[in-house]
């Protein structure tokens, strides 16, 4: 009887403790999201308080705007290339950091620095380095004889601007990737490697047959986190290549319409599409990761 009483008291307190968080998250997440979706069906503007329902008009407008599809393509290109490079580099550096050597601590600290620097600051630092006339990158490339004259990184050439943005993102987020992968590698028991060594497995075979399957869950999580981040990228692109259609992503497109052009309804339609896009990606991942976890454990057994 008293135990039951204690249990219900405990539950009541538990709900009470949850309340502030739930109120805050409803206020700053659920409400603004629903409100944005609702605004997407209206003709709201920043300056006009009169709001009229316009149905699917805004969505039709966005979906028939070539600039929107351009931004979708840019976002996908950016995500695919940068996350791909970050994964490969992250894996390489993580394997390196896993080994014992002199100077490992320094290297580990060095790769943390880019992660700590605010995105806006990295965007500015690199914009200066990419400067066509006075930038250090053109200077180095010319000294090395890779290029004859200075390249205009941030102007004219869409491929070059995209490359510049990808380089900065890779520089900034590879540390995050490295850390997640390294944590995965370090959770592998040492005995697994020892028995592989006894069996005479080569380094490459050990990596391919043991390390990679065992870190697959950590790797998948890291890649998904990064993809979610990359798909909604805004600040880096806004600062480095402001208002250039060549690199504008979905988030940049949505904000420009919403705030810069003041078309709240139209911009909200675009951001609703961004949300739908990322939600679908997340659902696919959750579905896929369930299957994957089963696959991962069976591989463990077969060792």
């Amino acid at each position: 009887m008293t135990k039951d009483h204690a249990l219900t008291e405990r539950h009541r307190t538990a709900y009470l403790f949850l309340l502030p968080s739930l109120i805050l998250l409803t206020l700053v997440a659920a409400w603004p999201l629903l409100r944005t979706i609702w605004l997407a069906f209206t003709d709201a503007t920043l300056s006009n308080p009169d709001i009229n329902w316009v149905g699917l008009e805004n969505f039709k407008g966005v979906l028939s705007d070539p600039d929107w599809w351009h931004s979708v393509r840019n976002t996908l290109t950016f995500t695919f290339i940068s996350v791909g490079l970050e994964t490969l580099l992250g894996l390489g550096i993580a394997l390196l950091l896993h080994r014992e050597f002199f100077g490992r601590g320094i290297l580990r600290a060095a790769v943390m620095v880019p992660w700590a620097i605010p995105t806006v600051v990295s965007a500015k630092m690199w914009s200066w380095m990419f400067n066509d006339n006075y930038g250090v990158i053109n200077n180095i490339l010319q000294k090395l004889g890779v290029i004859d004259g200075p390249l205009a990184w941030m102007a004219d050439n869409p491929a070059l601007s995209m490359a510049a943005v990808v380089i900065v993102d890779v520089w900034k987020t590879t540390p995050f990737m490295t850390l997640l992968i390294l944590a995965g590698i370090q959770s592998i028991p040492l005995q697994v490697y020892q028995s592989a060594a006894v069996d005479g497995a080569s380094g490459f075979r050990t990596f391919w047959k043991i390390t990679l399957p065992l870190i697959k869950p950590a790797l998948v999580v890291a890649v998904v986190f990064r993809c979610l981040d990359a798909l909604r990228i805004f600040d880096l692109i806004f600062i480095m290549t402001n208002n250039s259609n060549d690199t504008a992503t979905m988030s940049v497109y949505a904000r420009n319409n919403m705030i810069a052009f003041g078309d709240l309804g139209y911009g909200s339609a675009a951001s609703t599409l961004v949300f739908a896009f990322i939600a679908i990606f997340t659902v696919i991942y959750v579905q896929f990761s369930r299957l994957n976890l089963v696959g991962g454990s069976s591989e463990k057994v077969s060792l």
Binding site: R35, A116, T119, W128, N139, W171, V274
Partner: protein, 267 residues
Amino acid sequence: MLWLFVIVVSAFSLFPFYWAIVSSLKDPSTMFQVEYWPSALEWSNYSSIFKEQPFGKNIWNSILVATSTVLLCLFVGVLAAYSLARVEFRGRGLLLALILAVSMFPQVAVLSGMFELVKSMGLYNSWGGLTLSYMIFTLPFTIWLLTTFMRQLPRELEQAAIVDGASSWTVLYRVFLPLMGPSLVTTGLLSFIAAWNEFLFALTFTLTADARTVPVAIGLISGASSFESPWGRIMAASVIVTVPLVVLVLIFQKSIVSGLTAGAVKE
């Protein structure tokens, strides 16, 4: 071979920061010559950043926003994490999944709704509006991480206290909180860095130069014409805001790494 790799990786990681320092110490006449070693130390960029715009005020805004975000987040988050980690109730798994789902929201997806919310609460162009809106990305991972940490503490801890008739409040503040120092530091640091670096909300919910946070102030520094940016000043400002952060990260390297990986590796 290994050494070469170490040098290349370190150089790639550190060079941009080094370059920002070198560039910030140049005077306007040598600014546009590429020199790999500063020929003279010129501090005028550092003084002009404070003279020509309210950069001191911007730093203060950033400190205020980031600190209040951390405090609010930790207070509310500890309460929620206690319920989620230590009390069994129906719908707990679903609630955790929902909270995690919020952290996947793209910021732009809530932008217009949040803009209205901030305006209607009278918080537009003030640090309060930023602190409130930052909850959307700091609170989910704070709750998630603290729940993970709290779950690892042994059951016996609270059982003795509960048998003695202690309330949940007492259990939380007398038993758990003293043990959670390191995890609070980790979570607090991650929220601080996230709030310090945020750009999209800070850009959209502030209007005047006085109300801006550091990333927006740096992002919007411009010269006399749009074709010539005052690079020396931009680099000086960048160095000023980055140095404390780099020092922080190097000191708390271990706890930051544990926080970043806790959610991802452990179930």
